[in-house]
């Protein structure tokens, strides 16, 4: 994936999670309506933002591979069909609209107290990305190493004890 090579930043670069942009759209979409590049920066603490070439991926995968039922296309998964067979196109489209950034925050966990809630195991945004991306990349042979997509920032290197923070001595490991 040679992202960043022929990227044309004519379209606005949208940070994921900006529901505002999509909320006004009332018509069925196809791939051409989608943004070309999406910048993902939810791991900005440790990694530089990732420029996700959306356009390129629309050529390799079906929309529903990522946007499960939100496009108005009937789902195929048996358990989804039970409820969503006739679900119309969703108001929201971006991943961050359903997949919370702060998945394990107090508020997010409190929503589980609602016994009516069906989708209890919805992964957070980071989880959704990685589960989907890495899962697919494993199947099609895309890059799966962390640093294949993410460039580590200084803070990341500090945490991973990598780069200039790499351990010099062999640590103080005894025989145990």
């Amino acid at each position: 994936m040679s992202q960043g090579k022929n990227v044309q930043r004519t379209l606005c670069i949208i940070a994921v999670g900006s529901a505002l942009f999509w909320s006004g759209l009332g018509y069925a979409m196809d791939a051409s309506d989608a943004p070309e590049v999406i910048t993902m920066d939810s791991l900005e603490n440790h990694y530089d933002p990732v420029e996700f070439n959306h356009l390129e991926h629309t050529e390799m995968a079906a929309c529903t591979d990522c946007h499960h039922h939100t496009l108005g296309i009937p789902p195929t998964n048996e358990s989804c069909v039970k409820c969503h067979e006739n679900s119309p196109e969703a108001d929201v489209l971006s991943c961050g609209d359903c997949h919370l950034t702060d998945r394990f925050g107090i508020e997010a966990l409190a929503t589980l107290d609602d016994p009516q809630l069906y989708h209890r195991g919805t992964p957070g945004l980071k989880g959704a990305y990685h589960l989907n991306c890495v899962g697919c990349h494993q199947e099609v042979g895309g890059p799966i190493g962390c640093e294949d997509c993410h460039t580590m920032k200084d803070a990341g290197k500090k945490m991973f004890k990598a780069g200039k923070y790499a351990p010099v001595s062999k640590g103080e490991k005894g025989g145990h």
Partner: protein
């Protein structure tokens, strides 16, 4: 639960004799049956082995959060998975938690699975912790939030907790002569869990292989994952029953022993194995004095008789 406590206290304070008796009996019934509620709102983590990709982010985050010593190799060095770890000719080959790391991810190449599987190890934070019950200075406690925490200021360094832990979790700072202590995962209790935040490893995990939540919710989630993907998971939640239940729960795509879990861990709290002896103790303490004094009186009947004849004041 809080309501329950308050209710019970109110009953008592209310001074209604009947209410007191009722609440006592109620408490007695539930406790005698061994039905303890285990802090129903306590938190846990669901570890999904199918999701883990072995990025070691959790190890790195833990090291930073807990201020642990520098590792031998950077955390993005994946050669550690293939290292063989002999301890000077002895010791287990697999990596395990040590006094330098509270958590470890190990790689398993399972026959029939086309990609390696990874398993995270750390303290499972039992509902009935064996370390706690084996500790003779009460250095461990189970917090209402679900963590099993350790107090180094009272620890004597007897290491019985390491004998008792069915998961081989606690480790000891053998290298320290003056300030040794037990080292083990504390669920980030002080820095995070207390405030309701997930531990560092959960927060960093990119794959959401670690799901943080109330243990009761997690069990439900785990069951629904198994139900909706019966081909993907083995129908077992490791930690639901193991050692009487643990706060950390695991789902695996293959039989658990193939990814390094000890499947022989008994499905009841370790204290159940010790209970028999513990109940004997007060009986010995209370019965032996009279029993053996009685034996003495019986076996020295002749002496007693002659003494009695001489002078019944002397014993």
């Amino acid at each position: 639960m809080k309501n329950k406590i308050i209710n019970r206290r109110n009953f008592i304070k209310g001074g209604l004799g009947g209410a007191v008796v009722a609440s006592q009996l109620k408490g007695k019934e539930s406790q005698a049956a061994g039905a303890f509620d285990h802090y129903p709102d306590s938190m846990g983590v669901l570890v999904d082995v199918t999701r883990c990709v072995g990025c070691r982010s959790c190890e790195a985050a833990c090291n930073q959060e807990q201020g642990l010593p520098e590792p031998e190799k950077p955390f993005n060095d994946y050669s550690v998975f293939d290292e063989v770890h002999p301890h000077g000719g002895h010791g287990r080959e697999e990596r395990r938690t040590t006094e330098y790391n509270y958590t470890i991810v190990n790689k398993y190449n399972v026959p029939g699975v086309d990609h390696p599987l990874f398993r995270k190890i750390q303290c499972n934070h039992c509902l009935e912790p064996a370390c706690l019950t084996s500790c003779f200075v009460n250095a461990y406690s189970k917090t209402p939030e679900g963590a099993v925490v350790y107090d180094p200021t009272v620890c004597v360094g007897c290491r019985t907790c390491m004998i008792a832990c069915p998961f081989y979790v606690p480790t000891f700072k053998y290298g320290s002569a003056f300030k040794p202590r037990i080292m083990k995962c504390v669920f980030c209790h002080e820095t995070r869990l207390k405030e309701g935040r997930p531990p560092a490893c959960v927060e960093i995990c990119p794959q959401e292989a670690l799901t943080f939540g109330k243990r009761t919710d997690l069990l439900e989630m785990a069951k629904s994952r198994i139900r909706s993907n019966p081909d993907k998971y083995v129908d077992h939640i490791y930690g639901e029953k193991e050692a009487g239940g643990t706060a950390w729960l695991y789902l695996s795509p293959v039989e658990f022993d193939k990814v390094g879990f000890d499947v022989h861990v008994p499905h009841e709290p370790v204290i159940n194995f010790v209970r028999d002896f513990l109940s004997i103790v007060p009986m010995v303490l209370l019965i032996w004095p009279a029993l053996f004094t009685g034996f003495h009186l019986l076996s020295n009947r002749k002496d007693a008789k002659s003494q009695h004849d001489e002078d019944n004041q002397e014993v």
